[in-house]
Symmetry: C2
Subunit: 235 residues, 2 copies
């Protein structure tokens, strides 16, 4: 009973002010309204949410643990700037974990979950139709979280939340062109496989889905003049 089973993706407790701050900042980061490297001043955020610095601080610490905010001692908190190496690690971890998650999700599938999956796909299509790139990225991540919730595996869910948050940041940083269309189709295919309880196909589809997402990225590794400079100075 260490962790309560929560039906939704995150904690939407209206009374929990720390949670509200965390949610708000997370959403702002994942929807690309806050760019990597942006300073997150404590007073500034506290002013916005009408909260004291104490609460802002705990929220920022939680986000730092999730990997989407980096805290530098005596400097403050900044939106994290994942390196290409980070990106590769994140996607490798996702390729390891998510096929297994789909497996479990199929075991735990029920009509109620099918409903939720269907509704989510509709939401994704709707955002896609509107051309709302921000919502698309957010919903794309939430799809994966939804599958993880289905699996009923709280540890995998926790890990995946972290990976998803970082992934969204990575995608927005390193995406090559604006090609957000293909993702939805993949999701629909995966849902079909889940409905038909075809584990092998679902796993394969999830894997190739992740591979395609990563393939759309431009992970300049030893390139970029600034990066080389920073690397030289850092070593």
């Amino acid at each position: 009973m260490a962790a309560k089973s929560r039906p939704t993706s995150d904690a939407p407790d209206a009374s929990d002010r720390v949670g509200r701050i965390r949610e708000g900042v997370t959403a702002a980061i994942l929807e690309h309204r806050l760019l990597p490297g942006t300073k997150l001043g404590e007073d500034e955020i506290g002013e916005i949410y009408g909260a004291s610095r104490t609460l802002v601080r705990t929220a920022l610490q939680q986000l730092a643990h999730e990997g989407i905010v980096s805290i530098e001692k005596n400097r403050g908190a900044f939106v994290a700037r994942p390196t290409p190496a980070d990106a590769r690690e994140v996607f490798e971890a996702r390729r390891l974990i998510e096929p297994t998650i789909v497996d479990h999700a199929i075991d735990a599938a029920s009509p109620a979950w099918f409903d939720r999956l269907g509704r989510h796909l509709a939401e994704e299509r709707e955002a896609e139709r509107r051309g709302d790139a921000r919502a698309s990225v957010r919903l794309s991540g939430e799809f994966h979280k939804l599958v993880a919730e289905m699996s009923g595996h709280s540890i995998y869910l926790g890990f995946l939340k972290e990976l998803i948050a970082r992934s969204s940041l990575i995608i927005l940083l390193y995406r090559r062109h604006d090609t957000p269309a293909c993702g939805t189709d993949h999701h629909a295919e995966i849902v079909t496989s889940i409905r038909e309880r075809d584990k092998a196909r679902a796993r394969a589809q999830m894997l190739s889905h992740l591979n395609e997402i990563e393939a759309e990225l431009f992970l300049k590794d030893p390139a970029a003049d600034e990066l080389r400079l920073a690397d030289v100075l850092g070593s």
Copy 2:
């Protein structure tokens, strides 16, 4: 950075007081000096470490995120009490991640790492010889963390740290008999496979090692009158 004085879980910066508190409490929990369910009062800990409640609080929040401390609103922090279901999830996650970690460790293996592995095995044998069960459990966990460090995969390392911390708690809660002897041999076998760069064998050995650890546990699931009562009331 390769040769640190202490290969403990996190950064043991002497100047970082929050880190010291976290290390101290973690060690106390993992060595079974603090039993699950024990209240961790902020004043109490602050007194011990000569720190203000502010610092204690941040340390406890970090430990809560790691899963070895549970914070209940307006109640305080307690040593986490993983359920049998939690235990199964933890070990399943370890069976998924650790074989992959060994794979990467073999890729990154170098003489310096072999040295560290050898020294660690010696430490484990020494603790075993002394019959120091507490040190044995701690070192056993640190072996797995060491392999994860070798892999150079920071995300896997972070995940594994969480899993190891919870595992230690689980083992101390649910172990059947006192059979701490077999672990060390497995570790030595795994190191041998790493030295010989035999990935397949290393993976298999890691997997069976984890299976044996879990097999030594007694995970009473739907038993215990109290548990049933709590379940009924909770739903």
